[in-house]
């Protein structure tokens, strides 16, 4: 139906998060498809730096005028930084989901969860199929 961006250098989860892996540091946000489906985002809430995250576990939630959704991390580890600028300006996630709209950085204790993720071509097909 639509045309959503999905940069080639990122990995993608079925729950519509993107992950950027640099060594053991993983940055996570939500995809262009996700922000488009959610519509105007009005609130975000993340775990705090220092909190542990399980593989497949929630690291926060996002709320739009349409719905509230959990945010999931495909990797286990510790939250080392959150994008606190989004608390006052959650609409940045709509405007720039892969840039200024990044959400959390996690120091991964294991990168095993990366294995099951999609590349951008597979994610494009996944979005088109829905």
């Amino acid at each position: 139906m639509g045309e959503w961006k999905a940069p080639a250098e990122l990995k993608y989860a079925e729950s519509d998060e993107w992950l950027a892996v640099a060594g053991d540091i993983v940055t996570i946000g939500i995809t262009d498809f996700a922000q488009d489906q959610l519509n105007d985002i009005v609130y975000v809430e993340f775990k705090d730096p220092g909190d542990a995250v399980e593989a497949g576990g929630s690291f926060g939630e996002v709320e739009s005028v349409k719905a509230a959704s959990e945010l999931y991390s495909a990797v286990a580890g510790e939250v080392i930084e959150v994008n606190s600028a989004l608390e006052d300006e959650p609409e940045v996630v709509n405007a720039d989901p892969y840039g200024a709209g990044w959400m959390v950085k996690i120091r991964a204790s294991s990168l095993a969860g990366i294995e099951g993720l999609m590349d951008s071509a597979a994610y494009d097909a996944y979005c088109d199929s829905r």
Binding site: D40, V65, S69
Partner: protein
């Protein structure tokens, strides 16, 4: 009405009406000595409106005219929000013997009300196939909370307090996972399959894997929030039972089952009714509701109290004496007094007026009307699960090749055609969901008019999408800025003083 016509001015707040010294009542001269109000109780900052009787009356009549109600036309939010409430219910609720009954009245002085509550308990048990019913919970979410607390206590009493996981399908009402969390247990979400049913493979994996001994039960809505009967429900129930869990049915959609399917006979252990949905008691403006819970023999002793029972048997001196009792291992009270009695009374009137066959007709017409609309609208819109539905169905609120039009735009445009919009964006698992529930009371002409409006809107979307994107054009207010409404809360009244202040 054309979009260009002058729009009515919105009514000012009552605080902005009136003038100092105007009053709406004439009080007689006092016949007792006047006393000075203690100075510490006087407040200068309390801006009370000063208005005459007719101003008050006109103010609230105008506000009511800005609203849209089911007394004006089709309201496809359905029993989920407000189905038609027969006026005879209100007559019953206004009978002085009920309306003026004080909740602390001695049991001997309230036998009529107690008899009514007991009969309602029995009827609800009969309708759902359960052994016992408590009318105590104040609304659906409290009924859920009572149900999950009963399940928790049941496991604890059997020495299986480690059972702390409640399975919840991903189509569930948001209250289900919230209830589980409130009860100190944890949620495990189950996906739906492409038929809209619970994914049996995922259910088996949850019930037969390493978490088996932690499964406390499952909460499920039947028919589901997609309006679909879970065609594998018997398998679902036996799978959870075999793992040692109990089955909770969210009764929000009982309008599709009443007098046709009994959840107790399907194997459910506990359910709540929304008397304020299914049994037509009013709850606009936030309440009150009534979330009666029904249970089978396993949970009977845990029911929240008080419930009504015979406390002195009938003898040669006369009728039995009814009174309140607490079940043996009751989880306790859900609220003060005896539940929302006004709702019990209206639900009683509803069941009494319809009777067994009439209640079955309610279910049949509700299901027939929903399927009629579904079949008609499938010609124009995508219906993601194209099989027979219960009392409601979901369609996708978009028009092929018109990407800029969303469910919200279709809903807003429906208002210009004189219909209340259906539920938007729920269930979450359907993109651009429009959840449509016409209910049993709509006649074919009105259903056809709704279909025509939906077809006209799809045509407009193709020809002139801006008409939809800027809708509504004829409602008292235009498109609201929902983002600003969420982000910039403005309270029109000053917040209440904190307790103990002043």
């Amino acid at each position: 009405m054309g979009a260009s016509e002058a729009r009515p001015l919105l009514e000012p707040l009552i605080y902005d009406l009136g003038a100092p010294g105007r009053i709406g009542v004439n009080l007689p001269e006092p016949d007792v000595p006047e006393t000075q109000m203690p100075a510490e109780l006087l407040r200068d900052d309390l801006a009370l409106p000063e208005v005459g009787e007719v101003q008050v009356l006109r103010h609230f009549v105008k506000l009511s005219q800005l609203n849209y109600s089911i007394d004006q036309g089709l309201y496809p939010l359905g029993s989920c929000t407000m189905k038609y409430n027969p006026k005879v219910n209100e007559d019953a609720a206004r009978l002085a013997g009920f309306a003026q009954l004080h909740p602390l009245t001695d049991e001997s002085g309230a036998q009529g009300a107690l008899y009514l509550m007991r009969e309602l308990q029995q009827w609800l048990g009969e309708i759902s196939g359960f052994e016992a019913v408590s009318l105590a919970p104040a609304a659906g979410a409290q009924g859920e909370f009572a149900g999950i607390l009963m399940i928790r206590q049941y496991h604890i009493d059997r020495g299986e307090g480690q059972r702390d996981i409640i399975l919840v399908p991903n189509s569930a009402h948001g209250t289900n996972p919230a209830t589980v969390t409130m009860a100190g247990m944890s949620v495990r979400e189950l996906p739906a399959n492409d038929q809209g049913n619970v994914d049996m493979e995922a259910l088996h994996a949850a019930c037969e894997g390493e978490l088996r001994d932690r499964i406390a039960g499952m909460m499920i809505t039947v028919p589901s929030t997609l309006g679909l009967f879970e065609s594998t429900i018997l398998d679902v129930i036996s799978t959870v039972h075999e793992a040692g869990g109990l089955m909770y049915m969210d009764g929000a959609n009982m309008n599709a089952l009443m007098a046709v399917v009994k959840p107790g006979e399907l194997g459910f252990d506990v359910m709540h009714y929304n008397l304020h949905k299914t049994f037509s008691t009013p709850h606009g403006g936030g309440g009150p509701g009534s979330g009666a819970v029904g249970v089978n023999e396993k949970l009977r002793a845990y029911l929240p109290g008080p419930i009504v029972d015979v406390i002195e048997e009938e003898d040669e001196d006369g009728a039995p004496l009814y009174g309140f009792v607490m079940p043996e291992k009751s989880i306790g009270r859900m609220k003060a007094f005896h539940g929302n009695f006004g709702m019990h009374l209206r639900a009683y009137a509803y069941i009494r007026v319809y009777g067994d066959s009439g209640i079955r007709d309610v279910t049949r017409y509700a299901v027939l009307n929903a399927n009629y609309l579904r079949a008609k609208l499938m010609r124009t819109y995508t219906v993601p699960y194209p099989r027979y539905c219960g009392h409601e169905f979901v369609l996708e609120g978009h028009v092929d090749n018109v990407d800029e039009v969303h469910a919200l735009d279709i809903s807003k445009r429906l208002m210009d055609y004189g219909f209340h919009p259906p539920t938007n964006y729920f269930p979450l698992i359907v993109p651009e969901a429009l959840l449509i529930e016409p209910t049993e009371t709509e006649v074919k002409e009105d259903l056809d008019a709704f279909v025509e409006a939906m077809e006209a809107i799809a045509e407009e979307a193709r020809r002139d999408p801006d008409t939809l994107l800027n809708a509504p054009h004829t409602a008292p207010v235009r498109r609201l800025d929902e983002v600003r409404a969420v982000k910039e809360l403005v309270l029109c009244c000053a917040p209440a003083l904190p307790a103990g202040a002043g």
